[in-house]
Amino acid sequence: MLTTKTNNRARRRHQRRRKPEIWKLRLYVAGQTLRSIRALANLKALCEQHLKGRYQVEVIDLLKHPQLARGDQIVALPTLVRKLPVPVRKIIGDLSDTRGVLVGLELRERG
């Protein structure tokens, strides 16, 4: 855990120096459910606040493209996948717990 922390710190310093790095995010949902709408709203708010100007969000509706679920090993919905920067991170749920999402995206330290 300690090493992860230092790595994260190092990466953030690194990012600050050589920005802007584009964050590629992908949100998997199944149809226009309340939960998926909420998840997308939460994600947008969060990105605007923390990643303004350096993020791309792709929303994938698995009801339309079910075959895409396998590639990212999607089980639970909604799932947010951080494709970039590597390593891949996944956050499941409606993203209502902002603090948890930030930790999951490594925008904030755990604890």
Partner: protein, 585 residues
């Protein structure tokens, strides 16, 4: 769905079933798993859950035209294919033919963060997509409980799994859901049995005295009869086989070929040809009556014909059997050396009755014998209760019959009581029953044999004495005394008496024959004398005949000469006139 109805008119009227195609499993479930419903297969690690699921799908795809989806939560697809290949299943080909779809569901715990509400719709969508791709009728989820280790909210998981099962029912796919069992009281670690109420199968893998046995038990099967005991099962290169094999059905072949018992006299008692190939033979008798000897005869004869034999020795070691049989002139050694005869000796107590059955099954499958001897079958009773032994024997006999293997069981009867009663448990399963007795008459113990039953042939009803000689077993001719068949010295003395009487008769005959010969000689001598006399007479007469002939010729010549000397006469006159001869003139 029409398909559901159509496929099931053969099985029980209450519940449509989907045959698994797994050897033995369809027998004990009376037709298969509940069609269109989930079945829970629970078992400890390594008990064969995944393979059972795989075979269910492979058989479905290849034998019943029901494509399937395998959703693995543990093993990657490549590993599955590799494991399946060890059972002789080619998953890649089935996948290519769109008869099978494999999906590996995998959540990397360290990659994932849970925030707020979620559901498992992703899983549902993947499964729905997979089902639709191959038009699946069967699904295996192996092991969905793995999700509990990957996602932290058991409340959501349980609710979602419950929803998944009812979704599967709605989709009318026959599903196998595997679950891990980690302690002997519960069925599954996370209580999945709550959600699957139709059919629960428990797998078990035990190791006792270094012999591992897999067992299968149907804990519950709502709305259907099913076998309730623990059935041993095997996993080999042909997949899974649960061991009742065909014990609930009676549909073996009944070959008409006969197999010699190796004892010509005994063959004679069995309609002149011996046992039927593929029949089961019980040889029972008290200790020391020669059961093993009779079995050894058959084995030796079979090996001489080049047939393979498998000998389960539960009482004596193979070396001892070989030595003892040599003393009656049966040498089993060459057959062993040639690999035709294989002994398997074990203490009957080394394992449970299923272990014996499993082992027998394995060995028979491996060496493909024509004859199997279990000597003695009674020793197994030590291990199991009477009914267990019976059920095991039934399975074994069925298994051997299905392969048309002749089976010889020896059985030790305990003194007292009618011998027919003491083997009630097994005798009815046997086609032929030879009973050996030792009888005490005149201070001797002799052996007697008779064929108590032999289905499908005209067998002798006679009680025969048999003796073990240096040249094998022999059934001497029967001597009936006032108290039945004579044995031992009584027979011998009777034999001697009969021999003496026979000698007398033969001598009388001989002397008459000699007399006749003598008479013939005398008569012929007389005949020769008469002929000699006659020949002498004949000679005399012949001589006088030829003398008078000669005289006549001489006279004729003289007359001719005289005519020539009287030339004056016309030649014709000489012919006509009967001139008197010179001597007469």
């Amino acid at each position: 769905m029409a398909q559901n109805k159509k496929a099931n008119n053969t099985s029980s009227r209450t519940l449509p079933k989907a045959p698994t195609g797994i050897q033995g499993l369809d027998e004990i479930t009376w037709g298969g798993l509940p069609r269109g419903r989930p079945t829970l297969v629970s078992g400890t690690a390594g008990s064969g859950k995944t393979l059972l699921g795989l075979e269910f799908l492979v058989r479905g795809a290849t034998q019943y035209n029901e494509p399937g989806v395998f959703m693995s939560f543990e093993e990657p697809v490549q590993d599955l294919a590799k494991n399946a290949a060890s059972l002789g299943f080619d998953l890649d080909r089935l996948v290519a033919e769109k008869k099978l779809f494999l999906d590996h569901v995998f959540i990397e715990r360290s990659q994932i963060e849970e925030t707020g509400e979620y559901d498992l719709d992703g899983l549902f969508i993947r499964l729905a997509d997979a089902l639709q791709r191959v038009r699946a009728r069967r699904v295996v989820l192996d092991t969905i409980e793995a999700l509990f280790g990957e996602l932290s909210n058991p409340g959501i998981l349980r609710a979602e799994i419950r929803r998944l099962f009812s979704w599967l029912k709605k989709k009318r796919v026959t599903a196998v859901i595997t679950a891990e069992r980690d302690h002997p009281n519960g069925l599954t670690r996370h209580g999945l049995e709550e959600f699957v109420s139709d059919c629960v199968i428990l797998l078990d893998h035990r190791i006792r005295e270094e012999v591992s046995t897999r067992r299968l038990r149907i804990v519950k099967y709502r709305g259907s009869t099913h076998g309730t005991s623990e059935y041993p099962f095997l996993i080999d290169e042909h997949g899974i086989s649960v061991l009742p094999i065909s014990s609930l059905r009676l549909d073996h072949e009944a070959p008409a070929q006969r197999i010699s018992s190796g004892i010509p006299d005994l063959d004679g008692m069995l309609g002149g040809k011996g046992f039927y190939q593929g029949s089961s033979v019980l040889i029972s008798g008290s200790s020391g009556t020669g059961k093993t000897s009779i079995a050894a005869h058959l084995v030796e004869a079979a090996c001489r014909r080049g047939e393979r034999c498998l000998y389960f020795a539960f009482e004596e070691s193979p070396r001892q059997i070989i030595r003892n049989m040599r003393s009656i002139g049966i040498d089993l050694e060459p057959a062993v050396r040639k690999g035709l005869l294989e002994f398997h000796a074990a203490r009957p107590t080394y394992g449970g009755i299923e272990e014996h059955l499993t082992l027998a099954h394995k060995l028979v499958s491996r060496s493909q014998p024509r004859v199997v001897v279990v000597d003695p079958v009674t020793n197994l009773i030590v291990v199991g209760a009477q009914h267990e032994v019976r059920s095991m024997l039934t399975r074994l006999i069925d298994f051997l019959k299905a392969r048309q293997i002749t089976a010889i069981f020896t059985s030790l009867t305990v003194g007292g009581g009618p011998p027919e009663a003491s083997e009630v448990a097994v005798s009815s399963l046997m086609d032929t029953w030879l009973l050996l007795q030792s009888i005490e008459v005149g201070g001797e113990r002799n052996r007697r044999l008779y064929v108590l039953k032999s289905r499908g042939m005209r067998h002798s009803n006679q009680m025969r004495e048999f003796v073990l000689t240096d040249h094998g077993l022999r059934l001497p001719d029967v001597y009936l005394g006032p108290e039945g068949v004579l044995t031992g010295s009584a027979r011998l003395s009777q034999e001697v008496r009969e021999k003496a009487a026979d000698t007398v008769r033969r001598q009388a005959l001989e002397s008459r024959r000699r007399e006749l010969e003598r008479n013939r000689q005398i008569f012929e001598a007389r005949l020769a004398l008469l002929r000699a006399e006659f020949e002498t007479e004949e000679e005399k007469i012949q001589q006088s005949i030829s003398e008078s002939e000669l005289l006549r010729e001489k006279l004729a010549q003289d007359r001719t000469l005289m005519v020539r000397s009287r030339k004056a006469d016309s030649p014709s006159g000489s012919k006509e006139g009967r001139a008197p001869g010179p001597r007469a003139g």
